[in-house]
Symmetry: C2
Subunit: 444 residues, 2 copies
């Protein structure tokens, strides 16, 4: 039995490793078009910031490690076509050598590509996106080669915010541009005031609620023009989201789903039996709505990979619907969410109730205690918890996991109120901020 995996980052290598543990006898072959496999892509901002010295620290397992486990890793080989009828992939090496490889089961883990904006100057030297480790290395090298002093970061979503933070730590002045007036767009407007505060505190020039006109430069980037205003910069990083690399699947007649991600069932199987997908090229199912949801997150890619790997190797595993938990650090604050925001819940047609509270993250008298915001969103009639958002001192926002856990159990806001969350002054006030919010939500 031969299992082929296309793509060697989070989803692909998790699938390969799990397939190996599931089936000792199968031949497992990975094709990765890049130079690296199995790296923590989410760590790249900390490599750019200098908090991590070498990008090599981001590499979890090297090709040799996989080879030792009996997984054949082909670097620099790109899958060009899938023959979904005859169970074959056509792969091509960097040198243009083509080969046809047959498989008994296939895992597509082609990831996603950074979106680019259709603006003038987007192809100039010094305009980057950040998705692969190679992207990260290229940005780092450009900063040191060109002695970058000023950079524009277009997009202030999670990665955009991490990039701003990273560049400021490197002493680079940052111009942050986002079309949304109060980014990051993943949060309700009433949750993001800390973000603006921190950006200002760190002298970030914020052009939020503004559109980029063009990028200017001769040979390389010299300025970014935002609604008529020209900001001289040495570098531009576009961080405006990603699109799933699903074209190869589509060409093979495999169905797509939300956001053009490869459609999968709960076993991560595509519309073709024996062909699975994992990671940023595919989707998850929301535990709140039950619908497919495109969430290109490292945590989910790994979960997908385990399930796809198990099933590709002949056993049976299921990918549970997700809370969509996500979290980001921006200077010394953190933002986290799980489930739906209020605006998302409304678009989904829920009759929504919500509450926002502000409370200390630790006992008010404990050194370093800071205020955090908690927003809870629930279904008015049933009390069912639909989502939560947290913002505040970054050491406090991992408590979003409480909400994720309750969402998985389809809990109500009363259930949250009932939980005796752990208390000691260095960790929480006697009423945890989540409990304070739940007490506000459910008055008795």
């Amino acid at each position: 039995m031969r299992i082929v995996v296309i793509g060697g980052v989070a989803g692909g290598m998790s699938a390969a490793a799990k397939a190996r543990r599931t089936n000792k006898d199968a031949e497992i072959v990975v094709f990765e078009k890049g130079r690296f496999v199995s790296y923590g892509a989410c760590g790249m901002p900390y490599f750019l910031s200098g908090e991590i010295e070498s990008y090599e620290e981001l590499i979890v397992r090297k090709p040799e490690d996989f080879e030792k486990a009996g997984i054949k890793v082909n670097l620099g080989w790109e899958a060009k076509e899938i023959d979904a009828k005859n169970f074959k992939v056509i792969v091509e090496s960097r040198e243009g050598k083509k080969e046809e490889v047959s498989f008994d089961s296939l895992v597509i883990a082609t990831g996603a590509s950074s979106r680019r904006l259709p603006i003038e100057g987007v192809d100039l030297k010094g305009v980057f996106t950040l998705k692969s480790l190679d992207d990260g290395i290229a940005i780092k090298n450009y900063i040191s080669d060109k002695k970058v002093k000023r950079a524009a970061v277009i997009g202030a979503g999670f990665i955009g915010l991490e990039l701003i933070d990273a560049f400021v730590r490197q002493g680079i002045e940052v111009v942050s541009i986002d079309i949304v007036p109060s980014p990051p767009p993943q949060f309700d407007d009433d949750m993001v005031d800390f973000v603006k505060e921190k950006a200002d505190e760190n002298k970030v020039i914020t052009c939020w609620g503004s559109k980029v006109d063009r990028i200017e430069g001769g040979d390389s980037v010299e300025a970014v023009v935002v609604e008529g205003e020209r900001f001289p910069v040495d570098m531009v990083v576009l961080s405006v989201g990603v699109s799933p690399n699903s074209e190869i699947a589509e060409r093979a007649g495999i169905e797509l789903s939300v956001a053009s991600a490869i459609k999968v069932d709960e076993r991560m199987q595509t519309s073709v039996e024996g062909i699975y997908a994992a990671g940023d090229c595919t989707h998850s199912y929301s535990v709140v709505t039950g619908k497919p949801i495109y969430l290109p997150l490292g945590s989910l890619a790994n979960r997908h990979g385990r399930v796809a790997g198990t099933n590709a190797a002949g056993k049976n595993a299921v990918m549970h619907p997700v809370a969509g938990s996500s979290i980001v650090k921006f200077f010394d604050i953190g933002l986290a969410r799980a489930g739906l925001t209020e605006s998302e819940a409304k678009s989904e047609g829920f009759d929504v109730a919500s509450v926002v509270i502000k409370a200390y993250d630790k006992a008010h008298y404990y050194p370093g205690a800071g205020k955090m915001k908690v927003k809870l969103v629930w279904d008015k009639a049933s009390g069912r918890l639909l989502g939560a958002q947290l913002a505040g001192p970054y050491t406090g926002v991992k408590r979003i996991d409480v909400v994720a856990s309750l969402l998985i159990k389809r809990a109500t806001v009363s259930d949250l109120k009932s939980v005796d969350l752990a208390y000691a002054p260095p960790f929480s006030p006697v009423w945890d901020p989540l409990s304070i919010a739940a007490n506000q939500a459910v008055k008795d």
Copy 2:
């Protein structure tokens, strides 16, 4: 309508405040035998350590604040007897003045008293316990008056550990004594190796698995003798647990329960209708076993108080069974638990399965990442989660709340495995330590 509350710390003042919000017209009268009301008793170790400068920072609301809200606070008045038939309390002032006060409903929040050991020298000057704010102030004064250089802390439970940490921060050499070989006793033996490590690192002399013979001294403490070995010390703090102050209730014919705590139903009502109890003088119900459980925790005292206050004021509220979440910081590590330990689960007759894993608390490459231990305990046949314990970098152990939440929902270890816990490198590895443990527990 008159609501009388006996005791003005966590349980009592929560009850009084909640009764006020519930019933605008009732007369609410509090009797507190001490000098202070409404303080964060759990903050005292941080006052002793110097992390908090003044004990006044621990005071949440002053008597004046309560008076303004229409709650009469009588400081220095002790309740001596309850007449449960005629609904009266006899209270006595510090000067010996007695009064009889009738009530329509009563909340008993008499707290708990520190246990003392029946050993020689326990009444010497310089031997302390820590329960009330007055205790804390007395210890702090003794340290500065006597220029304490060396102290013995007897008992290495949660408060014992916090005291050791506090004294070391004050430059005091500490002898820690506990009858248990691997304290704190609230944890399974395989979870506490970090505690010994940190104690050693901070040059704490640990006499664990040892019994104190006696305390020696003339006028005041000079030494502690542990199994024949004499340790010269200037001060001794006994931290060997607490007993509920339930005698006044018992004398009134009110039933007691586990650990001699005042017996209550889910409305925090005692065996006498109209008389409620809250805080360390009473008990909770375990969400795991359904049985009464004595947990003298500040977080629960506040929860009790809210429920008792609502019901005493004529409305209806219920105290949910508890996960018994608790957490402690010891130098730079933290320990946390929820539900049952493995040994507790076995004594309860469960057919137990368990797993212990060690994993980074953050992405392995993120600065400051450290190893943490996770232990999960579940019912072998059903997979029902019975409890969890965490030990490791203190910034990571609040994730115990995930387990507390799942316990409240009677979740299985598979449910824990299903939760997509939030991931970004500063917060967690791509697989959260809890997920790693759950993956180990439920292999697929």
